[in-house]
Symmetry: C2
Subunit: 209 residues, 2 copies
DNA sequence: ACATGATATGAAGGATTGTTCAGTTTGAGG
DNA sequence: CCTCAAACTGAACAATCCTTCATATCATGT
């Protein structure tokens, strides 16, 4: 994941001593906390350093500029998310297609709901940075995993696996994101998730026939 | 729509002469153009005024501050979008549910695809402003229209119209948005739209049975 | 033609922020 | 204990940007 980051956005140096590594974590955590609390527009390098308990200079030895900080935070987040999805896909190999869709929905929804405020904050932090490469790589990893999964479905008979896969992934990810932008009650969210599963199941059955 | 805007975000004055109205349009257009060309981070009041062919002072007689400008642009955009959706919903009253879903998808997708760059730019401009009220009002208008539509379906037998409606709207809007964040080919997008329609149809049929 | 309010101008102010760098502290290895 | 590079500090700099206001121009009604 780190490999394809534009050179201008890459972190400046990797920590070689223990304290530097701790500093890096503190900076990440401070960034997320401030993003959640005050939002991106109020996120300044000074404030991040202050909150992380380090000086501004230290920050600039880790990241060449503010953008690379935001980039790194999102990269880390997407890395973890991608791993979870890949794990789920691997575990679901060979199952019926409907069970796969349900597993995918559960994993993705759970990952996003784990820390809803962070999810929301990161969704909105993607403005200032060149996120195309990041999203493209995440999408590539995801699609590879899900395509392999759906291709192994025990009841598979899709005319076009890639098309079906793309539809499911786009619908699921999009629905989850949209549900985060509205202010739904917990009940409504749970119901929405159930409806989404039903929708995917009905769609997959209609594909078979 | 304008009524519920926080007072601090409302435009300063309504134009009373012809030239002022023209100025307002020029400012809107300039804002959108710059948003599309350079993105939000590079959108400065000076540049907007320059591009609109007016001075900064003129801008500040229309809008008390930068935020209110962005707010107004998005408000205008959502106003038009809501009208289109309401029109579609009214025209589809009494049709079979599947036809309703298809009409909704067509309208929404067409509205977003009409000027894809503007759509993308506005999706990303929503960071700096307090958009909750805006989105809430849009959602309320939309849900009212779509709920009324689906409740009038000729083949309706939903156990819970509101639940089904919420699911369809969230899925459709979310899918369209997500498809805009990936770089799909035109073929893939068209196929995706067809799959989405198929998915909604299958879902609605499964609701009946 | 005149008066008056609406509209437009743009240089200047005030405040903030990203970034640097010369110097200090820390810690691991010899 | 000493050494040297890695890590850290934070005041200062430079650049930018939002916003204001005193002034000028325009359009309308009389």
């Amino acid at each position: 994941m780190t490999t394809s980051a534009p050179s201008s956005l890459k972190p400046r140096k990797k920590p070689q001593q223990a304290r530097a590594s701790a500093t890096l974590d503190a900076i990440f955590e401070a960034t997320i906390q401030l993003l959640v609390k005050d939002g991106y527009p109020l996120l300044t390098t000074t404030r991040v350093a202050e909150r992380a308990g380090v000086s501004v200079g230290t920050m600039y030895q880790c990241f060449p500029h503010k953008q690379s900080l935001i980039y790194a935070v999102n990269e880390r987040y997407l890395e973890i998310l991608a791993e979870k999805i890949e794990y789920t896909c691997r575990a679901a190999l060979g199952l019926p297609a409907a069970a796969m869709a349900e597993a995918l929905i559960d994993t993705y929804w759970a990952a996003k709901t784990e820390r809803p405020d962070v999810t929301r904050a990161l969704y909105r932090s993607v403005v200032e940075m060149d996120n195309e490469a990041l999203i493209a790589e995440f999408a590539a990893r995801t699609e590879a995993a899900t395509t392999a999964m759906f291709a192994s479905a025990s009841n598979r008979s899709f005319s076009d696996v890639e098309s079906v896969n793309r539809a499911l992934v786009t619908v699921i990810f999009g629905t989850v994101r949209n549900s985060f932008e509205r202010s739904h009650s917990e009940q409504e969210v749970n119901d929405l998730r159930r409806q989404l599963i039903a929708m995917c199941r009905a769609y997959l059955e209609s594909c078979v026939g």
